[in-house]
Every structure is written in C-alpha cells, then in structure tokens.
Amino acid sequence: MAKELLVVGKRHPKIDGSERVSGQATYASDVYLPGMLYGKILRSPHPHAKVVNIDVEKAKALPGVKAVLTPKDIADFSWYQAPGRGHNDMPLLTDIARFAGDDVAVVAAVDEDRAEEALDLIKVDYQPLPFVLDPEEALKPEAPKIHPKGNLAGEKPAILNRGNVEKGFQEADLVYEGRYCTPMLQHVTAEPRVCVARWNRGKLTVWDSLAYTFAPQASLAHIFKIPMSKVRIICDFMGGSFGDKNGTERYHVLAAILSMKTGHPVRIEFSREENFLATTHRYPMVCYLKYGARKDGTLTAIQAKVIADMGAYCHLAGAFGIMETMKGVYRCPNLKAEGYDVYTNKPEGGFMRCVGHPQGQVAQEIHMDIMAEKLSMDPVAFRLKNHARLEDGDQDKKVPFSSNGMEECIRKGAEAFGWAQKWQKPGSSPGPLKKGLGMAIHSCRHGAMVLPCAAMVKLNSDGTVNMYVGVADIGGGQKSTMAMIAAEELGIPLDAVSVTAADTEATLDSGSTGGSKQTIGSGTAVKLAAADAKRQLFEIAATELKTGKETLEIRGGKIYPQGSDKGIAMTDVLKKAPATITGRGTASLPKGVVTYCFAAHFVEVEVDTLTGKVRVLKLIAAHDVGKTINLLGAENQVDGGAIQGMGFGLTENMIFDKDTGLCLNPNLVDYKLFTMKDVPEIHPLFIEPIDPVGPFGAKGLGEPPYSVPAPAIANAVYNAIGVRFTELPINIRSILEGRNKGSKA
C-alpha cells in the first residue's frame, strides 16, 4: 500500500533552527547558575611522567579558590567500576601522566581567571619518563611501557578469518601489497566539552553537551552511591558531537565532585586548546594490505594488518573498526586481518564520525584504485565487479543485507559525474594546472547498530503533540527527524509536534546519538509510539463514527473512514478520551538481516604542479539512505560530512613534536579545517531503496559521507599528476615533494 507521504521525504528546516540561530536556544555552555564556580583541570606538560609530588598550598591560599583536588583526594570514588563508561585504563586524576594534557589535578574558583591563576600556583614535581609517539615503535619490546601490561591494548590482536587467504592468493593473477597511513584528527565541535553540575538536597543535576545523557546518569549514580532517580542529565541543545562528548568522561565526574565538596554549582568548560589536547580523536592508522585478484577483476583474497594508534588510553576496538571495511565493503571468500590497538603517549583515540572506517577506506580504496590500474580495469568497473551484493550481507555470519543500493550509487553517481566521458589516463592532463578524477565507495553497518530505543507521545486536548525521546539532538537535526516521523504517522502538521529530548528525567534511554543509528532506532520507536496513540484515538473515533477502527485515517487533523468525507475532529475525539492519550513505542534489532548504508563518491580535482595546491572542483556524493526523512537535513548531512572528509584528505592533521612529545597545532589557525572557500560544488544524490527495517524505509546517514571523499581525492590526485600518495593529508608539501620524486606506485 503506497500511501502518499505528507511530511516525510520533504525539505523541512530544522524545527528548532530559528531558536538556534537567534541565540534563544540554551546550550550547556549558556548555563550560568547563581553562585556557580569555574572548574579548571591541571594538565601534564609532559607526554610521559611520574607525578612525584603535588604542592597545592599556594593555590588553596589564593582568594577566590574554593577547592583543589589531586589524585589522593578523589581516591574514594569508585570510578573504574562505574557503568556507562568505557575506560578501564584511565584514572580519574592520574599520578602518571601518559600524554601531554593528562588530568593531574583540578580546581574550582569564583571565576575563570582565578581558576587559571590557581593552576599556575600548583607546584608539581614531575619525573619525566621516556615516551613513544609512533605506534609501530611502541610495539617493539624496547619501547617505554605506557601501561603495566605493555603497549598492546587488550594484550592480543583482533583477528578476522574467513576462508583461506593463501588459497586465494594462489588463485590470483595479481597480488598487490601496500602501506597506508592516516593522521590524528580532531572533531572540532563548535561547542567544546562543557558541563555544569549542581547538587541540591541530595540530587545531582548536570547540564551537558552530550550525545548520550543516560551514560553519566548511570555512572554518576554509581560513583556517588545514590539512586539513578537522584541524577538528572539534561542536553537540550548541543553544538556538535561527531563522536566526542558521547559518554561519561572525567570532567563530568570532577565537576560533580567539586560541586559536592564546595556546595556550589560547578562549571567545567574546555578551552579550544584543551579540546584539541585532552579529548578523544580520530586515531591515526598504519595499515598494510595485500589483496589478490583474478584477471577479470574478481577479488580472491584480502589480507590486512592494521595498527591503530590509540594514544594514552583505549576504550574502543580501534583497529577492529578499521578492519570492518576490509571485512564487508567487498565480496571476498578469503579474508585474514589482524588489528593492533596500540598505546602511545598522545591524546586518546576515540569515536569520530564513522569510527575507524574513514581510515580503513583510505587504505582500501587507494589500494583498489592501484589494483584497478594494474588490471587495466576502469576503477568504476572494478568496484562494480566486487562490491558486496544484497545476499552477501554479513559474509561471516551469512546474513543478508536488508537492502542494498550500492550498485545504483556507483552507476548513478558515475553517470551524474560524467565519469566515462571525463576519464583520462593518469598523469595525462597537459599544462601545469592538471585536472584529475577519482572515486571511492563505502558501506557500513552503522544503520544496523540499533540498541533498544523507546519513545513516548502525549496527545494534548488541542490536538498538538508532546514527544519524549532519549535521543540527543547533537546538531544533526534529530529532533526534527523524530517530529517529522510522528507528524507523518499521526497525520498532523509538523508544527503541532513539540519534542523533549535527552533529558534523563523525562525521556527513555535510547542509546547514544552515534553510529548513524537514531533515524532507524529512535525513529522506529517514535513511529510505533505515534501508532500506539493513533490506535487509541481510532478506538474512540470508531465508536463516535459508528464504524470499524480498521477503516479510519487521519487527514488534516480530522479522522475519517477511508474514502469518506464525513469525519470527526481529532480535538472532539480527545475530549471523549477517559484520560490523556499517551503512546509508547520500543524498537529493537531485527533478526535475519543486517542494515547497511552505502555510498559512492566521485571527485574532480585540480592540482597546481607549480605550487602544490590541490583544489577540489566537484563532488558527486551518491548515498543509499533508504527513504529520506528530511531531504534538507539529509543534504546537510552529506555536505557536512563531505566537507570534513575533504579536510581529512587535504588539510587536517594534529602535529606532534618528536623531541618533546607536545602537540604543535592545538588551535584553529594551525589545525587547518576546511573553510567555506575550500568547499567545491557538492551534489548529494540519494538512492532510496525502501528498507524493510527503518521507519518509512529509512536508513542512517550521519557518518558515511565522511568516509568516502578522502580516498576519492587521493585517487583523483593520482589521476591528475600520476603520482600516488598513500599517506594523508595530501598538502602542498606532499605534492611538491611527490612531484620531485615521481610516482612510486
């Protein structure tokens, strides 16, 4: 039954857009409470050092300073065991600094300047220890040990095995090996990490900029030994997450402890520099690939060794995240991959838009491009030959995809780009300004990572709807998406829906806004909650209209039997309801299928071989998103993700000084984010197979746009100048040095 959709699939500005741009939205960084103190964290200036002694007397004596805490002052709090957080290797405050920026002490003072001055007055005796920055060096036996059990987090590598790679290589006509490296990147959320904690009569409230408020609710209750009902975390508006600000971190706990000890609300807000030095990052990768293929292009074996540079602390399977792309983007019967999560004396690696996939795809998609050329195949044809098909799904568990638009992404993207017409032999562009074209594909299981999600709707007597969802709107338009789904299901206008999100006291735990999963997860829960409310409305309406409830539908705020123009106003039905109508919905992971997002990007670049400057001229971004919920929001997601992805390819890189282990560019001047002037034409192209899992057939989109541009650009640069780059970013220096050296590939 193809019912016409009235709200879903259209372009809608964010429902809270005007609040955001007019400054009326209250972000956590806007929360200033009476009597509030400012917390500041003392950070290690050494990449690796033992804290021998901390003298806080002078800091404590400074007027306006209300508390100074060192590791021994917080030893009683059971931080390691707390639920809702991942680190088992990171102390709350540390007496061994493992990266420059590690939390050593914390102060609370009446204003920010006083807090900074207090930090200056804390005298710490450090005993510097040998440090290691390079992950391959860190794996050597002689490397300085960063944690007692050595520098391999988890003590053993992650292994993937399918079929028999040796057999696969024997069947291959071409076996190609390559090494690929990606740098450390920062999320650079517009709003840095910030929270305001307040204790009031035994209850802890935290205003936070957080993609998952239920995590600290659980952690803080455990740490302070109070019931979860006494902890409330609120994130109404948030200035970006991109994977950071996604769970309980040290600063949440420190702000709450400081507030408890001082009796004042305490705010901890990271400076931009702290946000570079002491949050999570896209972890650098070193990756060795060896792939085999037959003459006709069929892949016969995929072998990978992945080294994920996880920094000083490790709370996720970093290398595994990278290996997921080798595991699933292409169909291949033989796979062997080993992944190493390695400690180094650098800021910690973490979740960042598409986790390890962008790194993995840089390796895999450049590798595939090289193999296509060696096989004398068109890169598009080579992808079409090998991409995982609908029936392939999870090739290890033998579970098919719920839908798969990859072939259409590649074909329609190539057509829109004019690939066949534009194709040129690599390096054949004449003159000093050389144009080139490149492509890359990506698929990821993010859409399938649906945790149990729950939502509630309440129908007001005037026919408007309040909706309560646990999903945090991290800036990606999640509130708008949820409102559109509810409006569509209930047959009411979008502006009749009001959304309360991510307040632990008013909404239900639906997991973090990460993994591109909330459109499917919370979106399904919202649709079911709306359907539940509608069912109750129809029961009453059926009695009033003396008809069967199965025949009813809502149009423009009135309930009609199908095909009839004699209806009853929703408000009249609501008057007959014995109590306020509320609807509930819960969603969980379906069995028997895996839901993936698919994408293919095509870029044209111009390389100035005189100056080394690379410009991206055009990007066609074809994405299988299932049914688009908010077309405008989806376009924004593609634009934003692609812009970040291009920065990954060309400009962004956290740079560390080898002699001191210090980060040299923790600021927005020297860490070179793409600016609007760098952004080319971006043409999103949506492939919309109706997916059986998500609401109205929708899938996820938040992350995949990030994963594709960088390798596509690397391939386009090769096509332009005939020099292969296997290390990012490809900046002015890379081009000029590469030009002088010539191609190595």
Partner: protein, 329 residues
Amino acid sequence: MKPFDYYKVASVAQAVSLLSKHQQKAAILAGGSDLLGMMKDRLEGPKFKTPAFLIDIKGIKELNYIKEQKNGLKIGAGTPLSEIVSSDLIAKKYPLLSQAAGQVGVPQIRNVGTLGGNLCQKPRCWYFRGKLFPDCFRKGGNNCYAPGGENRYHAVFGAANCYKVHPSDLAPALMALNARVEIATSKGNRMVPLEKFYVGPEKNILGETILGPQELVLAVEIPNPGAASKGVFLKLKERQSFDFAVVSVAVSLSLKNNAVDQARIAFGGLAPFPLRAVKAEAALKGKGIKDAISVVCKEATDGAQPLSHNSYKVDAAKGILEEALVSLA
C-alpha cells in the same frame, strides 16, 4: 587572561607618552586580533611577558585615513584592512595592495585588524606560540626548536638561529611598492624605508622591526606608480581562507618597449622578514617577462637554506613567482 591596566588614548602624543612611561611593560592595542589572543593564551617567556598596560589607540581618529598626496599615497596605521580592501583608489592605483589586504585572515579579522597591526604582528611559529616551549629565542630563551623539530612552515632564508617567518601579507606587498613607514617617537616623527623597518634575528632576536619600546607606527607612504607599471600579489596557503602564507609573493614592475624597466619582488613566508628578491629583480630588468621567467625564478630562490622538512617551500616560491610573472606577461 592576566589582569592589566587599560588606557584609551585620544592622541598620538598621549600614546607615545604612555609608551615612554611604561616601556616594555606596555603594548599598543589596535585591532587586538593578535595581541589579545596571545594574552588569552597566557603566552610568556624569559623576555616575553604579558603586557601590564594596554594603550588602546582605536580612538585616535587621525590614524585612520587613506589619502592621495602629490608624490603618492599615505595610509594611516589605524586604517582597518577592510577599508584598504574596499578603497577604489587603492584598487586602481595599487591593485597588488588590494589583493594582499583581501587575503588577510577572514572578513571579521579584516574589519578589526589594522594596517599598523598587520605590519607589526608577531610570528606564527608554533614553538614561539606554544606555551610549553619557553626556551625559544624569540621569547628570550636560549634555543630554537625548529631545526631539529617540525619545521615545515619555517624560514628558508635569513634565519640566524631563529627560524620564524614573518606572517604579514601587506609587508611584501608594500615592499614591492617601495613604501616607507612613518614612526612616532618621543622626539618627533621619523620616516624609514620598509626594508629598513624590518630586521632579522641577528639584529633583533626579540622582535621583527626596529621599533623601540616607546615608538609607534603612524602611517605608510607609497610613491606614485611609474608609467606603464603593473603588479600582482599571490598567496599560497593550505586553505583558501583564514590562513597564513606558506609563501606569498608581490611583484611590481614597469615596462618600457615590452621589456621590464624597473622591478621589485618581495616574498612573504620565506624569512624572518619580508624578503626582497634583489637578484631576481636584476635578472628581470631589461628583458621580456616571458623570456626571463625561468632564470628569474632560479635567481629568486638562490641561496636558500632549507631545513629538514621545508625544502618544498623553495619549490613553492619558484612556482608562485612563475605564476605571478605569467599573470603579468
């Protein structure tokens, strides 16, 4: 930010008198886009202290002007960069100066940033700007971290121990235009050629200019362009906005009978000061532009002394000069 005393002055005399009184402890506040950032960063070194006194000169109206005079143009030091960008007079007479001003930072920075501030800005070297590198020469320490460290953006000319580069876009442009700087001192005003205004680390390890602690830049004077003259400013940067030059070049030349009569070429981003390419100028003189390009580019970077990671800057300088010359040919 550390506390400081703030003076809002209405005249140059008042500013100079306060500078004379507080000497090194004082700083001039104009746009503040560089100064306030460093103060917020609490950046200090043995001889680089957060100023205890700020002298705000934004209220001195007679520092903000662009005026044509008999022998050229005079621009007040307090003139916002955005006004230089939007001046029709400058666009017509000295297009390369418009181009240079238009490439500074972003519109917000050009709205607050001034000509004087742009010429007097501090180096962007990340060791100088890094709080945890106090021993840097530029801050009064005893070390330069660049030669053994991450030096991809550092100097390839004129370093003398300290490998900073001068970050100004206007300085090479004005140098190519043969500009002079007017300086207020406690003993009256003096005028110096821009090339003399800037000094290398061998002369002043703690600064980039000859300005004394009680001195203040008042204006820049640019002579009239010669007959049949043209110029261009090009800036190579990692991204198209909000970035300092990897290398920039300003070329100003006049032609006679299709050959170059006079030429001035200056680079930004290559040396601790805006770098005039005298040998390249000589190689250009008397020749057709196109015929001279390869030899001029070679001469321009002759004698470069790159560090471990920045020899590409020599290539980049050649490349951008070639593009500048091609655009003028």
